[in-house]
């Protein structure tokens, strides 16, 4: 099975082409800020270098969030459009889980983190089961105080990975020498690992309905729902 794997959830861009259990080509960039300009050219280049054409692909695997709204929209738009237009399979994975894949020899639990500013973070808690990260606490948008309270009972080692710097002191205070901080390279998503992981998952049933994992309503939407708690919010877009 030939897979195109994509992650542009935050500043790094990682794209890989895999075949069965091997890597054919991969590019990871951390030096630019324009996924809109870089993502499709990187994909075109890699698929070509892997000796393939678009029609040779069998499956797209995308890290669909959480992360920067623009970043996860770029990756998800490319992924769902390619899957739909080529009529091939689509698998979406959590962008936090994608970082957990980088912790190859964990002791205890893995806690990936994206900084959402002002003491807020996107995070989740994972445990390795049968060699793969499995959620213990679901991905969420939260603040550091609430999150540390949620995981206060943990008595194992915990490895934080990702944009950890603003939160390391608080984690260290709670976990002491049970805290491990993953190295900087582990904070960069690796599309090859995402592709190989996604190869084993069941593809989505309805490609058209796939949206990024924002894990957070827009402010306008959140305010509106507070004032209209019982309203059905599904049918606001209509074809004319």
């Amino acid at each position: 099975m030939k897979i195109l794997a994509i992650d542009t959830s935050n500043q790094p861009l990682s794209v890989a082409v895999t075949a069965d259990d091997s890597l054919l080509a991969e590019t990871t960039l951390t030096t630019h800020r324009k996924h809109a300009e870089f993502l499709m050219p990187v994909i075109e280049d890699l698929v070509g270098k892997a000796g393939l054409t678009p029609k040779d692909l069998d499956r797209i695997v995308v890290a669909s969030g959480p992360g920067s709204y623009t970043g996860i929209r770029m990756a998800t738009t490319v992924a769902k459009t390619l899957a739909a237009t080529l009529d091939i399979e689509l698998v979406t994975v959590s962008s936090l889980l994608a970082l957990a894949l980088n912790i190859t020899k964990p002791a205890g639990l893995i806690n990936p983190i994206f900084n959402a500013r002002n003491q807020n973070l996107f995070t989740g808690l994972y445990q390795i089961k049968n060699g793969e990260p499995t959620p213990v606490i679901a991905d969420q948008h939260t603040n550091i105080t609430d999150w540390l309270a949620d995981i206060a009972d943990i008595d194992q080692q915990i490895t934080i990975v990702g944009e950890t710097a603003p939160f390391e002191a608080a984690f260290s205070q709670q976990f002491g020498d049970r805290l491990m901080v993953a190295d900087k390279l582990a904070a960069i998503p690796d599309a090859a690992k995402i592709g190989l992981y996604g190869a084993k998952l069941t593809p989505v049933q309805d490609v058209d309905s796939v949206v990024p994992r924002y894990l957070r309503l827009t402010k306008a939407e959140a305010d509106w729902r507070k004032e209209h708690p019982n309203e059905d919010t599904r049918h606001y877009v209509e074809k004319i």
């Binding site: 324009k34 809109a36 300009e37 870089f38 993502l39 499709m40 050219p41 994909i43 075109e44 678009p54 029609k55 709204y69 623009t70 929209r73 770029m74 998800t76 738009t77 490319v78 769902k80 459009t81 390619l82 739909a84 237009t85 080529l86 490609v207 058209d208 309905s209 949206v211 990024p212 924002y214 827009t218 306008a220 939407e221 509106w224 209209h228 049918h235 606001y236 877009v237 209509e238 074809k239 004319i240």
Partner: protein
């Protein structure tokens, strides 16, 4: 001649639209998913909400457009997409999807200016004859565009502040009308009279530029003053007075431009081009220009849609205007500007 089929994308604001256009002038399909109901909750377009809706809709619209046109990817000649002006996060969904489709099926990719789309909507009814002039009026734009020949667009006048459609929405809010207010204000205006005589800003200036913020302020001040002294104003007359001021300025500037730049066609496009008051007035004014025909974009194509992007895209296709996978959204995209040259 083999038929030219363009799959076109438009996501610059709050409509997700995909169309298939044959030979630049025939609509095989034009799917429009509008988000108006969603943004009405907030009284206007919220950019992040718009982007989220576009990504929900985009692939379904592509499939519907192809199915409705009864064509497959193998039949297509090219992919065209709006890359500006507009909301950056909204534009990016169309641009990204169009790039993905173009690469997947190895089709050329055509970058289209949204305003060129509003103008080229006219050719879906009648061929455009050059030289031509276009008045584009919408929620985001009020521009006079001179086109000496095909594929040359020169702005000779534009709004210095609010777009005409924006002014409609703002005074609509004061009248208790939810966004988009244009249609309802137009209907009310037809039942009222111009009794307030609001200012016609820049109407006498020797340029082709517009300004609507003074008119908007005069309107709001009039209503607030009446509220303070507990006087009730006739809403239809308010609407009629506002609309008359807008239409006067748009018509006067357009007429002056037609004197300065004699053209074979005057094209009127954009969301506000659906306004009945404006259409009637321009029809009357054009009687003084027997060499110029008036091409009013049909109501169904005045709003944002991908058919117009395909119509402009086919013209660019003939001129070999192609781009590649590095195409980015350009929210402030502009045409060439003639406005600084002194008026003769």
């Amino acid at each position: 001649m083999a038929r030219n089929l363009i799959l076109s994308f438009e996501t610059s604001c709050d409509e997700t639209s995909v169309a298939v256009i044959e030979n630049g002038d025939t609509i095989l399909s034009n799917i429009v998913a509008t988000q108006i109901k969603s943004h009405q909750r907030f009284g206007g377009v919220v950019p992040e909400v718009a982007s989220r809706h576009h990504i929900e809709q985009i692939t379904g619209c592509i499939e519907d457009a192809l199915a409705r046109a009864n064509v497959t990817y193998d039949d297509l000649s090219a992919v065209a997409v709006t890359y500006g002006p507009g909301l950056v996060g909204a534009l990016l969904i169309g641009v990204t999807a169009a790039k993905a489709v173009a690469w997947a099926h190895q089709l050329p990719l055509i970058p289209v200016n949204h305003l060129a789309g509003h103008i080229y909507a006219a050719r879906l009814v009648e061929p455009i004859e050059f030289p031509a002039m276009a008045l584009v009026v919408s929620g985001g734009h009020t521009e006079l565009v001179y086109m000496p020949v095909e594929n040359r667009f020169e702005i000779i006048g534009e709004t210095r502040d609010d777009a005409a459609g924006e002014a409609y929405d703002k005074i609509g809010r004061v009248l208790g009308i939810n966004y988009p207010a244009g249609k309802q204000v137009d209907e009310m205006a037809h039942q009222g009279r111009d009794t307030f005589h609001f200012p016609r800003a820049m109407d006498q200036d020797a340029n082709f530029d517009f300004s609507f913020s003074g008119l908007k302020s005069a309107f709001i001040n009039t209503v607030h003053h009446a509220d303070q002294i507990h006087e009730t104003l006739n809403k239809n007359d308010l609407a009629a007075s506002f609309q008359q001021a807008v239409v006067d300025v748009l018509a006067d500037k357009t007429v002056r431009a037609l004197h300065e730049y004699p053209v074979k066609q005057l094209i009127v496009g954009g969301g506000v081009a659906a306004n009945k008051g404006l259409r009637e007035r321009l029809g009357k004014e054009l009687q003084a220009f027997p060499q110029t025909t008036l091409e009013l974009v049909p109501l169904s194509l005045c709003g944002d849609n991908a058919a117009m992007i395909g119509a402009a895209g086919e013209m660019l296709y003939r001129h070999q205007v192609f781009t590649d996978a590095t195409l980015n959204a350009d929210p402030g995209l502009e045409f060439d500007w003639l406005g600084d040259s002194p008026v003769k």
